[in-house]
Symmetry: C2
Subunit: 135 residues, 2 copies
DNA sequence: TTTTTCATGTCAGAAAACCTAACATAAGTT
DNA sequence: AACTTATGTTAGGTTTTCTGACATGAAAAA
């Protein structure tokens, strides 16, 4: 899952290829960078190198431009998206925390059942819930 | 399935990037081209542009070189592989033909059953086999 | 309506990246 | 020893990209 993100953020493409891929002019691409909508990497010799993520972003910019939205608007759209994915991350974290909390509870139940049910092989009704603790 | 192959054969990378990705020198890459092991595209201005397939091939060349195989050997390896995938294609085609032949047979059976079983809604035992003819 | 602003076009001069061709060389082959 | 192979190195030329400056049409503001 993370390897893919690395690949997508690897600076691989010179501006000429990006122009073809996005059908934007060099002037436009540089202008969007000037307005901090993208931040392509640079070679030692100062040439811009773009990643797949940069290209996605440029295509998004192009779409927003086509819909009549100006630089400020696009900047805001990206800020909101950023914030949105950030909160989604937090929600995921919270969900994970909730799950881990109930894992603890399940552990308690498991211990208690093992003490009571003792030596029965027949498993308790909660086996399905417990299974994730094993293997 | 074919869209992926298009993407993999799209000339996107200048030689500088390919050098980094493959850890080959420009001299080596040009030499391998000279020996027809790769055939990168060219820009209008005659710059080489490499596809993902080209890069795969270069990595393969590098591996074979590391194993002490010379240009002629590598050329032969690729020829064999080419031939191999070609026969695989033919096998696939043959398999498809076999399948289509039995499709014809199934059609015959279908016709015959429709004539005999006539107006029964209850479907014949072969319905599962027939289903691929509809929708 | 006139003036500003915005997004982009265009041009110039400089630097980076790449090209081909030629010669050099270490290691392996004849 | 002479040749071949794979690669290094250098030179001179062309293409691509860079920044900065000025130009412009359309939209927004005054």
């Amino acid at each position: 899952m993370a390897g893919n993100e690395i690949r997508r953020s690897m600076p691989l493409f010179p501006i000429g290829i990006v122009m073809q891929l996005t059908e934007l002019t060099a002037r436009q691409i540089r202008y969007y960078e000037e307005h901090k909508l993208i931040s392509p990497a640079r070679t030692e010799g100062n040439r811009r190198m773009f990643s797949l993520n940069d290209i996605d972003r440029l295509l998004e910019i192009k779409d927003l431009i086509d819909r009549g939205i100006n630089m400020a608007g696009i900047k805001e759209v990206f800020a909101v998206k950023e914030n949105q994915t950030a909160t989604a991350e937090m929600e995921k974290q919270a969900e994970k925390a909730r799950r881990e909390l109930s894992d603890d509870e399940l552990r308690k139940i498991l211990r208690s059942e093992l003490q009571h049910a003792g030596r029965f092989n027949r498993s308790s009704l909660r086996q399905g819930d417990m299974s994730r603790f094993f293997q």
